[in-house]
Amino acid sequence: MIGCGAERELWSWAKAAELSERGNFLNQALPFSGKTAWVTGADSAVAMAVAKELYRRGASLLLSGVESPPEGLSSGGGQTVACYPRNPTDEERADRALGLVARLDLMVAGTRSPERSSIASGSAAIFDRVIEENLTAAFVALRAAARKMGRSRSGPLLVLSSIHGDKPTAGAPVFGIANGGLAMLVREAAQDLGRFGFRVNLLRYGPLEGDEAIFRSERSGIYWDMENRIPRGRPAAPEEIARAVLFLCGEDASFVNGAVLTADGGFLGHYVAGDSARRWDIGFGGGGACE
């Protein structure tokens, strides 16, 4: 219980020591030096960008979802890069991947595998495939990573998700459902693992180059005229998402747990389909340009 005399003093002292250590940490040129990071779904652009940023800042890597490290990521100079070809959709795959490294300090679950379908013509096969890749893999990875780290190294755990955990895809429904599940998975894990010092957070990213092709649907206008719906006027580069991920994995986010950070450049802030269409004079039920 914090609050009375001696305990309060002890607590302030411990806090000051921790903050000063953190200051030293921030001053390091390579803040992830000596740490080993597990990145799953490394076959996706954002997860790979995260891996590259972590590597650039000194981390050793364990990559799930790729056969071999891409160019520029190699073992040497105190850093190692290990790969396991399959994503952790079951415990055996997770354990095999984790068997390749001696220790683990942080984890980024980055699997992203949307599949175009409809609910009306849906099947258990589609549902199982998409849920397994996007949701079950994160459940398995979080548990396996926490086990591997143990209490002594309880570190940051991050799950990559999508704005489609909030906004329907209208063309890849099970992907939306999986991302809805991820938000709750992270909140549950943040409670349970948080007691051991782990931090579990979720990063939802918005439009990337090529997302129009994946998500565009005749049922929804949100990817219609995509670039004009993003205030910046362009989709994100995977490296921009990666840097937000590194913030959540770093010491600057030491009290951030169970949070959902959206990195979509303001994409979801747009109003309704007709709004941007009118503004850009591209005819959505008439209207014309509004300057």
């Binding site: 079951d90 415990e91 409809s118 609910i119 009306a120 013509s121 849906g122 099947s123 258990a124 549902f127 199982d128 849920i131 949701l135 079950t136 459940f139 398995v140 979080l142 548990r143 926490a146 489609h164 955990g165 909030d166 906004k167 329907p168 895809t169 209208a170 429904p173 099970v174 939306g176 459902i177 999986a178 991302n179 809805g180 599940g181 991820l182 938000a183 709750m184 998975l185 909140r187 549950e188 894990a189 943040a190 409670q191 349970d192 693992l193 049922r219 929804s220 169970g258």
Partner: protein, 264 residues
Amino acid sequence: MNNLAGKRALNNGLSGKRVLITGGGKGIGRGIALELARRGARVAIGCNSNAGMAQETLFQLRELTEAVSVQSDVGSPEGCESLVRDAVGFLGGLDILISNAAIQTQHSFLESSLEIFRRVIDVNLRAAYLLLGLCHRYLKESGRGRVILISSVHGKRPTDFDAAYAVSKGGMEMLCREAAVEFAPDGITVNAIAPAAVAIEGKTGNPRPMTVRPAGNPRHRLMYPLGRIGTPQDVAGLACFLASEEAAFITGTTIRQDGCAMLL
């Protein structure tokens, strides 16, 4: 118990509507089935492990309307198919689908396992997804199809005692939105109800005994500003509204029904 219907002649235009309710044998599903029956709907209830209670519910339903009980495990795709086939066969079509069946195993994130996780997702989430797909053409034929998903406040707020359950309800929030967008051109509305604690007989799949505290327990004042937890009749009233003509322009939304407990 049935003063909701007793005081009102109004049946919300639900008379003669054909309804399928999964997990209709007990708890919230039973409450909704009985209320819809009182308002003149024809009802098919699905049940699995609670066949005995479903039989009792069926007797009560048959005093009010034409009703049938179909036993199947919606955790399997075949179970979903046979349920829809038998229910639609009995009803001669479908106007309202209420996906309510769910299990709670009460394992926290660390206590859970991949096996538990998969089973909970299959019963609580995949079943709702598959039933929406299987019922789509009947709901479209109906011309004013209604889907009501029984979710939970744990689709937004963590439980800290049942991780897989919360994940399944988080997924259900998105299933509701995805289905609403996809089914809207066919005149079908899809909504979800998110109750907090509801006083029912016991939860399916829960290996631990659970005491349902009677309404009016002083502790509830701290958790439930209205001084009590919810009842199946509370949920039934909202379900009947969402199924009614008055709710025709409400779709893709999840209504929190918790006596504002989640605001504390």
